[in-house]
């Protein structure tokens, strides 16, 4: 066990991925010499060389498109998009090609590509640098969309993503890059929870709190706060947003009878909407209250002075919990 920040855990995981497969390579803007804006790829070019860790020009569409071409010829690119909001120049390549090529070739090709995306707000950055676009990708069939909430998951999930034969959009909670925790860097991946499984983080009996990425820590804090009010919350880190591990969700909601979904992303059309629909359909007779959602308001990402009003926080989560118990 070693204590690592989330960003360092990703770095160690990427190192393992590069060691594990000679076809794996990293590409992105300033990922090599500079080691990435958030230092996630720090030192990797030095250790693996410029052929494995590639500094690209500023060209997101080109980065992802080139990665697809590399993958078609057997390579396993791990691409970095520097910030959430910069993924949109590459949106076409991701949605039109990356997501669809396997299906349209009737399984003749595989696209083992990871697209790493630092996402979410809370660091006083502004629009283009704080966004949560994951639902757009979860809405796109053919993509796996995952997100880690802590250093241990960061370390294993990035390796699992790199060894997946499907395209994986890997959303990294940028405001948690500096969070520290114990990480087991000795054990292999065999015993690790698969990347498409949800994890019950805190067991509870009264209400199911669903979350992922940056909101995992906040929801764990909410469970502690609610416990002092005598409420037992079950916190589930979804980890995989597409596909969703619905069985874990349903089992929990059938037990607790209440469900609140929390994400930083705008509520309208977010992951919470999909989850609420599925839970309502499958757990209808177990529900004591409608599935509630906590997320950002439906406005563009605001300037930093308004950020605290915009983002969901502990209070807004606890308020939703109160409301759920109000039914």
């Amino acid at each position: 066990m070693t204590t690592l920040t989330l960003s360092r855990a990703l770095n160690e995981g990427l190192r393992k991925a590069l060691e594990a497969n000679a076809k794996a390579l990293i590409m992105g803007e300033d990922v090599g010499k500079l080691g990435g804006v958030f230092r996630v790829t720090d030192g990797l070019q030095k250790d693996f060389g410029e052929a494995r860790v590639i500094d690209t020009p500023l060209a997101e569409s080109g980065i992802i498109g080139t990665a697809i071409g590399l993958a078609l010829r057997g390579y396993r690119p791990i691409c970095e998009i520097q910030f959430d909001g910069f993924i949109f120049p590459a949106f076409d390549q991701i949605v039109s090609q990356l997501a669809k090529m396997r299906y349209r070739s009737r399984g003749a090709v595989k696209l083992p590509i990871v697209v790493r995306v630092p996402f979410g707000g809370g660091i006083g950055a502004v629009e283009h640098h704080s966004e949560s676009p994951e639902a757009l990708f979860a809405h796109t069939p053919g993509l796996r969309v995952i997100s880690c909430g802590d250093p241990a998951d960061a370390y294993t999930m990035i390796q699992q993503a790199a060894s997946s034969d499907d395209p994986v959009l890997f959303f990294e909670p940028k405001r948690r890059y500096w969070d520290k925790a114990e990480v087991d860097t000795e054990g292999g991946l065999a015993a690790a929870l698969p990347m498409d499984s949800a994890r019950v983080l805190v067991e509870g009996s009264d209400l199911t709190l669903l979350c992922y990425g940056p909101m995992v820590r906040t929801c764990a804090e909410a469970a502690v706060a609610a416990a002092s009010d005598g409420r037992s919350l079950e916190v589930i880190d979804l980890r995989s947003l597409a596909p969703l591990d619905v069985e874990t969700i349903f089992a929990s909601v059938r037990k607790t009878g209440r469900c609140v979904v929390v994400h930083e992303a705008v509520v309208t059309g977010g992951l919470g909407a999909e989850i609420a629909a599925q839970v309502t359909q499958e757990c209808f007779y177990s529900l004591e209250a409608p599935v509630l959602r906590v997320g950002a308001y439906t406005t563009p990402y605001p300037p930093s002075r308004l950020e605290e009003h915009y983002l969901p926080d502990l209070d807004r989560i606890l308020d939703a919990v109160d409301r759920s118990f109000g039914y």
Binding site: T298, L306, Y327
Partner: protein
């Protein structure tokens, strides 16, 4: 290069030259102060400075007519100042306050002021290039060529020439003969990446050749060379509907943004930068040519400092936007069903105990 004997200066109106120096000194003082304010957490988000680009800024804006439109990048504080925006309102925008150019909603990267025809800074690299092209299309659509016809100037960084939107735009502008001048402000770095490591044609202005677009590279540290080249290009746009790709070469004196320590830069480079700093160079040039004396120069410098100090006070005195303002300006036409709960109000649907709330108006409950 700048003419050390001052012959080219002799042809200029001394008052105009002093005005260029005044602008450059103001930008320098403003940017140094902005960096300080950023480290003191008065400024949120990211903050990119024009330090080292003062001569380029003054030269380009000197070539613009008041009716011309300027599309900028996120590195645009200096352009707003040189186009005549009040330093206090610019600083207030950086501070995110109500007195800012966009009432604190745009911030450092998104300065916008239609009065001075500053059509925005843009935080997405290359985002402004097609937009500027469209604004030029609007001008061409409406009026014919004339010596005083308005034109568009579109700024972009060296690294921005590698993104697709740039190439799509150049093709459109050349094909449709639009009155636009694209200016590559080549400060030799895109974040930590030097031009040669990112561009297959590192003489960036030549990228216009693929679109049969004329272009030129000029010394971005020479305000007069920049101004004259930009003027000629704008004239071409006004009178011949011929777009141009102009490249100015200068050097970014500090990191990419205030938070970047620029460790990728060698000590020799840093030393060279100090020697080639365009501001003291221009000051020295004007003094040698007898356009300025030490005393007047010092006066201009201290006026710049005072203006910036006043700008900081002005910004500090202005309130931040209220939380409820979060919901303003999402749509031009108010939507009856749009959720406008106060921040802090729950977004989740209310339970019966909580009474009617956001959920009842069909918002994102």
């Amino acid at each position: 290069m700048a003419d050390p004997a001052g012959e080219d200066l002799a042809r200029e109106d001394p008052a105009v030259l002093r005005e260029y120096y005044r602008q450059m000194a103001l930008i320098r003082a403003f940017e140094l102060r902005a960096a300080e304010m950023y480290t003191r957490a008065k400024i949120g988000g990211y903050c990119h400075l024009n330090l080292g680009e003062e001569a380029t800024v003054a030269g380009l804006t000197a070539a613009l007519h008041a009716e011309d439109f300027l599309f900028a990048t996120y590195r645009e504080h200096g352009y707003a100042l040189a186009r005549g925006a009040d330093p206090g309102r610019v600083m207030a925008e950086l501070f995110g306050r109500e007195a800012g150019l966009s009432r604190g909603r745009g911030g450092s990267m998104h300065l916008f002021d239609s009065q001075i025809r500053l059509m925005g800074g843009y935080g997405i690299v290359g985002g402004q290039v097609p937009l500027a092209t469209g604004a030029a299309f609007a001008l061409a659509y409406r009026g014919g060529p004339a010596p005083d016809a308005p034109a568009v100037m579109c700024l972009l960084g060296d690294a921005t020439t590698n993104i697709g939107a740039f190439h799509e735009s150049l093709n459109l502008a050349a094909l449709w003969r639009l009155p636009v001048v694209y200016v590559i402000v080549n400060n030799q770095l895109g974040m930590g990446t030097p031009v040669e490591a990112a561009a297959a044609e590192p003489e960036l202005w030549k990228r216009g050749c693929a679109y049969r677009m004329p272009g030129q590279r000029v010394d971005g540290n020479d305000v007069l060379a920049v101004r004259d080249a930009a003027r000629a290009a704008l004239d071409c746009a006004r009178m011949e509907r011929q777009p141009t790709l102009l490249e100015t070469v200068s050097y970014r004196l500090r990191g990419h943004s205030v938070v970047d320590p620029a460790r990728y830069r060698t000590a020799e480079e840093t030393e060279r930068l100090r020697r080639e700093d365009p501001l003291p160079a221009f000051r020295h040039r004007l003094i040698t040519a007898g356009v300025l004396d030490e005393e007047t120069a010092a006066e201009i410098d201290s006026e710049a400092d005072m203006a910036v100090a006043a700008a900081v006070d002005f910004a500090d005195a202005s309130p931040p936007p209220e939380g409820a303002a979060l919901f303003d300006h999402v749509y031009a036409t108010p939507a009856a069903s749009m959720y406008r709960g106060l921040p802090g109000d729950p977004v989740a649907a209310p339970g019966p105990a909580a009474g009617p709330g956001p959920g009842s108006v069909g918002g994102p409950a």
